[in-house]
């Protein structure tokens, strides 16, 4: 899984840090999204995807990277 942030769009609503606290955080000063883990373990994938979908500003893009040995797992 690859995660890209568009921090210029971030509106600091906090949905990512609330939904996937193992993957996303908010900067203490400007409130914007911070990526804690560029390659989160599979245990965090569902939450990371949910967070990307919930972001009110479309500031998070999650793409499924081809992982060796996993051809079609969601």
């Amino acid at each position: 899984m690859d995660i890209t942030l568009h921090r210029d769009r971030c509106v600091g609503a906090g949905m990512c840090a609330l939904t996937a606290p193992g993957v996303f955080d908010q900067d203490d000063e400007d409130g914007r999204v911070v990526l804690l883990d560029t390659k989160p373990s599979p245990a965090h994938h569902a939450a990371a995807r949910l967070a990307a979908g919930l972001c009110p500003a479309a500031a998070i893009t999650v793409t499924a990277a081809r992982e060796p040995g996993s051809s079609s797992t969601p």
Binding site: C10, V11, G12, A13, G14, M15, A17, L18, T19, P21, D25, Q26, D27, D28, E29, D30, G31, R32, L50, G53, L54, P56, A57, A58
Partner: protein
């Protein structure tokens, strides 16, 4: 107007129904449910023409997916002066006063939002948990020593958000009673127009004075922090007034109406009382189910094609958050209050660039306050028949004016 015969023989009534007027009447005996017609309109067409009282023909968005798309689309403006009002012909709507950035777009909006974002993060708001617990305990102590019946709105639902706004803005302790008194008058429907006007003037004057005091002697709070920004005194006190307007009545009504919803669903109330771990999920579900801040409006800045419809530049779209939050395409059995469901994805805090800035504070307040109330008074119940609870009909924020409750003494 509704039954004009079609001039075109190929007119497809199913695809292009005549504009409807906004249904506002909630079903009899179901005060927590949106008007039944909204569900029917959503089922027919999640985006359709809507007649406004001033003669404008705009749009009504009821489907969860289309509501989200429009809220996130920069081709729609939130500027008040571009909007038509859905409940009465109020003439031209004036632009937002200084500090009220909900009525601004693009860079004008982000100028304010970016200054404030860092103050409302999940972490910062969770650090306020202990303060919320303390204020809540004080409210519950006062209720207990008074003894039932008491008005839960006055003793619990209003003071908690009021005190948290004082905390955020940095209102000194000695001035909090004064502040709370004016705030409650401001949002009290029983108060006369004149009383509310006086309270508003007093609040504005108070916040102007507070800004000057923070400039002279900064303390550890939001207003003091903002004195180093490029905001003028007028903009800064305007932000204070706006945070108060956006954060007080909304949270207070969620606490009041939420308690009433729990009392009306005893199995759900018991589930929350017996399992504090349920609190965060319960808050999301109560937000979805009650959707107290509704509806909102946007205006198309250019022609937009969306959900198979063509919205023209200048047309107002009414976004029905309550219809979206009861959309069966998004939520299973949407009319059931089910604290165990995953209600994430609701739009009760809005969506897009204006999505509620204070939502993480509101979540902390509710996740603390509801369970604390239920554990302190396990036998909490209404002190009047449910039919006699006065509802706030056709107001910006839905809720109850009063909620008389009582409990068994130990």
């Amino acid at each position: 107007m509704h039954n004009e015969p079609s001039t075109s023989p190929v007119h497809d009534a199913a695809q292009h129904p005549e504009p409807v007027t906004l249904p506002t009447e909630r079903p009899a005996g179901c005060p927590f449910d949106p008007p039944a017609e909204l569900a029917q309109l959503r089922e027919e067409q999640p985006l359709r023409r809507l007649s406004f009282p001033d003669g404008h023909t705009g749009w009504l968005a009821t489907g969860h997916s289309v509501v989200r798309s429009i809220m996130a689309d920069p081709r729609f403006s939130a500027r008040y002066e571009l909007l038509h009002y859905p409940l009465a012909d109020v003439g031209d709507i004036p632009p937002a006063p200084p500090g009220e950035f909900l009525g601004l777009d693009g860079l004008e909006h982000t100028r304010y939002r970016r200054l404030l974002m860092g103050k409302f993060t999940v972490r910062r708001m969770r650090q306020l948990t202990e303060r919320v617990e303390q204020f809540t305990a004080e409210c519950l102590d006062a209720m207990e020593s008074h003894g039932g019946p008491v008005d839960l709105v006055e003793t619990f639902a209003q003071p908690i958000p009021g005190l948290m706004i004082c905390e955020l803005l940095g209102v000194p302790y000695a001035e909090r009673d004064f502040f709370q008194e004016h705030v409650t008058t401001l949002f009290n429907q029983a108060a006369s127009e004149e009383e509310r006007g006086t309270a508003m003037a007093a609040m504005m004057e108070y916040l102007q004075g507070l800004v000057l005091a923070k400039r002279a002697e900064p303390t550890d709070d939001l207003l003091s922090d903002l004195t180093t920004s490029d905001l003028t005194d007028e903009e800064l006190s305007g932000v204070g007034v706006f945070l108060l307007a956006a954060g007080f009545d909304t949270t207070a009504n969620m606490l009041g109406l939420g308690t009433f919803a729990l009392l009306s669903n005893p199995d759900q109330l018991a589930a929350l009382r017996d399992d504090p771990g349920l609190a965060e999920g319960a808050v999301e579900e109560l937000m979805r189910y009650l959707t107290v801040a509704d509806p909102t409006l946007r205006s198309a800045l250019e022609d937009v094609e969306i959900a198979g419809q063509k919205i023209k530049a200048g047309e107002t779209v009414l976004l029905s958050f309550q219809a979206a939050n009861r959309d069966p395409a998004k939520f299973l059995e949407p009319d059931r209050l089910d604290l165990h469901r995953k209600a994430t994805g609701h739009v009760a805090f809005g969506h897009g660039p204006h999505q509620c800035l204070g939502q993480q504070l509101a979540r902390v307040e509710m996740a603390v306050a509801f369970p604390a109330l239920l554990t302190r008074f396990p036998t909490l119940r209404l002190a009047v028949p449910a039919e006699e609870v006065p509802f706030r009909a056709n107001m910006n924020i839905y809720g109850v004016h009063r909620l008389l409750v009582t409990w068994d003494k130990e």
